[in-house]
Symmetry: C2
Subunit: 595 residues, 2 copies
């Protein structure tokens, strides 16, 4: 037997007992020939004492202990001397006089210090993640993930959702992000794909009468790495329901988020459990983002018509060219000249030529552009923004996309500069009515998001000749300034689905072939249905105040999609390649010097 | 709103209420101009009534309903006429007079009947799994999986195990089964591998102080398909603990299995909650299998020394050549001539030349070989097997491997022929002390199972010059005649681990490179640790009386590792291949006519 107690279990009630502990040597102190060893495991720390007068052999073995050695110690629990106790930890009321000690394994000196103040960089920590996990901060995030997983499953099960594990080996559908592919040995030339999401499967479950489905699903997208999505694999709380409308889904999301955060993150404050709603257009109009931070107001007002005939030519010509004039107000902050220069650079980086502003000083408003404004223009400003002494107003003028982006960027920069939000506040908003199609970088019509969604107005809506004005029953949840949920009411009409795809792909046959399973399934009595995915990694990141999503994985991939600890990805044998019927391309072989 | 109630919710208490149901048309009957529609969903069936006198329009729409149409019906609940009620279902006390009906989606005629008596074959069912799931039997297995998943997670969490999700993208370790590989786009020429098991990760977690870990882990092995392991992906309940010995693990397994089956499968009887233990050698000696069915006794007794000088030359020469003579007794069954011929064919298929037997008839024992036996030999038989009138004894003689295999096969054939076991009985046994190495098909020394295990006797045990006589602290759990668990106490000494590998691989450097992460980790203070994996798919299969493990997946792969519903695996674009830096091999292209 290795232990009767963990290193966090002993207290005054054990005094006088003979016990055995196993754990890691944390600290060694010598006092007048007596050795004190702090023995540690994930549960806590216990002070052990080796007195050569008491037991020479145990003392001699202890004398060879080094940091992080794993040792097994047997001894008698006794009270610590007065003045050495510590209220914070129960184990600090006692210590153990050791009679028998044994080294279970030795340890080299770790490559970084194992404590929460360690400043080791990500690279060295991830390479030795098994040591990094010994740090409380890291373990606590892993424990938090376990807790939110369990809470989530209990919550959905209590609400009558059925957990279904959908396949991890599926078919490629490269029209969204890139698929990860797996060559098939049994079917040479063919490949499996890992699912980017269980989208089709969950819809098939609805056709199969499952009614309410959920799963914490591993998902896989071969995208270039970014800070808020883990490389290779990520997890989503995936759910789908039959016979629901958007309002039913919203009620579920509001109560899941409120319940989860109340239970798991009592340090966080949810601004309102009835989440505000913004259409996609409103969100961009007012905050310059489809995932706006609504923890603070500071929204944009539109002044395009007010400045249509302005004496200030910059504003007038913006409107003349079909653009907009927008402005927002910073409450009770006055920037210095150099601060204004700094925020102007931020605006310029986001695409602005220049950042116009007005400062409301005690003596009255001050601005280089104020002299060009008419009385009516100043009145419009005052009516919509109601500026007071010590406020500032910032303007954007030009094309809609640039103005909203610039003011959005200035807004979040000011938030960070002036701590305009409570960091422990969690603020959700529903973003609805996304456009179905958009122009892609090559100025071709493309899907904006999930093309399995139902267009507003059904077949009639889809017939709108201005495709950019077709909206669909898709919704996101923004949390602080992250997107944490995406979902939609699905298009359960097989012919309408084909039509929605045809607008982009042109070929009906191709649509039917690529989505063979769902297209077929919808013809056997498909219920109206809808659902959502919650990006649980990102949620953990927000609730645990982590700056990178990588920290919420027990064994993360690096920013370059590598596991430096396991050495993945890695080169493989020619034998393995041959068995799979594949080969490296000539250009890759050349690059690697294999030819 | 699509429904106020599900199709299983209404009962007498709803009489008089106006309600709305949505569901699938199951059955239509016409009686004197009135249409009766059974409306169905996963929750139940409700009878709805369309009377043209009452509502002509609703009746006209109902008149166009076909089987499996999805419809929305609004009407008033009323009691069913006397004599038409049914005690079994609460909804059969009522019916709904429909005032408003609407078709939500139509349905083609399904390719097979949607009921539990459907005799559609696996191929057609799996191709339309979304319809197959509508059958109660199929859904109930999916629901059972959800229940066992949730029970398992609760059980391990209550017992202080921490759930950790380990990576799905990892490094290749082709020394066990074949890996599934994923070409890396960002690192051309390199590949990720999917984990065959989280073996190394869970050991790294122990080094990281996690202490008690579990996970229901997806695992991936590119093996040829078989009936009791799902192609592509399967799931295991994976667990690992620090500072434990074999007995600690056994206690956990005994209570998990007992608790799970008691809670989830009340129709099953566990033979004993204290599982019998057999070493690997005992199991093969007594039952001819390392996963023996211990629901019934019928074990083998050894008679090698008894027949060493026998007058029966077949037995004598078997012993002379270093082989064995074994026998087992069939209780209270007498086989006819033709039945004996049949079982002899079974024995011959398993490798026997011939199957010797004795029948204990009322008149005394009868057998063609009896005349060769001495009195001492007959006495030995009687002492060890204690045959009674109406019993039979079967013999095996020859080399150990063939004899145990033949008698094992005869034993399980007799079990099935004579229903020697209760099909609802679940009988577990621990199989321990596996040999560390064995001779592979090429007569080279190879690992028998998991080489991360600790050899008995540590370094000294490993030094045994007869490598086939080295045993390790590995254990399996046999359930009925399946292996449902495998585990071991791990080798936590990095130098000893290298030694264990070196015996097979010869090169220390290769060992250290291939197991870089675990070899390194073990040098930073590794606790003694051990764990196990429970093959949950197989457990579900046993508890749900399924004959194929494929049935326990919501969306199964076929016996050829294909998903015929999604068309996976499939051919992919040249563009995708190019992006991944790989190409099909010339021979594959030729085969596919691509060159």
């Amino acid at each position: 037997m290795y232990r009767t107690h963990t290193c966090g279990a002993l207290n005054k009630s054990n005094i006088g007992q003979e016990i055995t502990l196993s754990g890691w040597v944390a600290n060694r102190r010598d006092h007048g020939g007596i050795i004190f060893i702090d023995l540690r495991d994930k549960y806590g720390i216990t002070q052990t004492v080796f007195d050569p007068e008491d037991d020479k052999e145990a003392w001699e073995i202890a004398n060879t202990f080094r940091s992080e050695f794993v040792v097994k110690l047997t001894g008698i629990v006794r009270a610590r001397p007065e003045g050495q106790t510590n209220d914070k930890l129960p184990t600090w009321e006692i210590e153990v006089i050791i009679k028998k000690s044994e080294i279970l394994s030795k340890s080299k000196t770790p490559p970084f210090e194992i404590n929460d103040f360690s400043e080791a960089n990500e690279e060295i920590r991830f390479k030795h993640r098994y040591l990094d996990i010994r740090r409380k901060k890291v373990l606590s995030t892993i424990e938090f993930r376990a807790a939110i997983n369990q809470f989530t499953r209990n919550w959905f099960i209590e609400n009558w959702f059925l957990e279904v594990q959908t396949p991890i080996f599926t078919a490629s559908s490269p029209e969204w992000a890139r698929d990860y592919l797996i060559p098939s040995r049994l079917h040479p030339g063919k490949f499996y794909a890992l699912p980017q999401a269980p989208q089709q499967y969950k819809q098939l479950l609805m056709v199969g009468w499952v009614d309410k489905y959920f799963q914490i699903a591993p998902c896989f997208r071969d995208e270039d790495p970014r800070a808020d999505r883990h490389s290779c694999e990520f997890y989503q709380i995936d759910a789908e329901l039959s016979f629901v409308e958007q309002e039913d889904i919203f009620a579920i999301l509001e109560s899941y988020y409120t319940d989860a955060i109340t239970a798991l993150s009592p340090d966080k404050k949810i601004k309102t459990s009835k989440f505000p709603r913004l259409t996609y257009r409103e969100a961009v109009d007012k905050y310059g983002s489809d995932k706006p931070d609504v923890r603070f107001d500071m929204h944009f007002e539109d002044f395009s018509s007010d400045f249509a005939d302005s004496g200030f030519s910059v504003f007038k010509s913006a409107v003349d060219w079909g653009g907009v004039v927008k402005a927002m107000k910073l409450d009770q902050k006055i920037m210095t000249r150099s601060e204004i220069d700094e925020i102007t650079v931020v605006a310029q980086t986001a695409g602005a030529k220049w950042l116009a502003y007005i400062i409301y000083e005690q003596e009255g408003p001050r601005s280089p552009i104020l002299k060009f404004f008419s009385e009516a223009e100043i009145k419009a400003l005052e009516e919509k923004l109601n500026p007071k002494v010590w406020d500032m107003i910032f303007f954007g003028a030009g094309d809609y996309k640039t103005v909203t982006k610039v003011l959005g960027t200035v807004r979040s920069t000011l938030r960070d500069k002036y701590d305009l939000v409570d960091k422990d506040e969690i603020s959700f908003a529903f973003i609805t009515d996304f456009p179905m199609y958009s122009m892609n970088d090559e100025w071709k019509l493309d899907f904006e998001h999930n093309p399995f969604s139902m267009p507003y107005g059904g077949a009639e809506g889809l017939a709108n000749p201005n495709k950019l004005e077709i909206y669909w029953m898709q919704y996101d949840v923004a949390c602080n300034w992250f997107e944490v949920t995406s979902g939609s009411i699905r298009n359960h009409d097989p012919e309408l689905l084909v039509k929605a795809f045809e607008i982009i792909w042109k070929w009906e046959k191709e649509v039917k072939e690529r989505f063979w399973a769902i297209y077929n399934a919808l013809q056997y009595g498909a219920p109206p249905h809808g659902g959502f995915a919650i990006w649980i990694d990102r949620l953990i990141m927000i609730l645990k105040n982590e700056e990178s999503v990588r920290e919420v994985f027990a064994f993360p991939k690096s920013g370059k999609a590598e596991d430096t600890m396991m050495n993945a990805p890695s080169y493989i044998d020619e034998v393995q390649l041959k068995e799979l019927g594949i080969d490296l391309r000539e250009e890759v072989k050349e690059e690697l010097g294999l030819d």
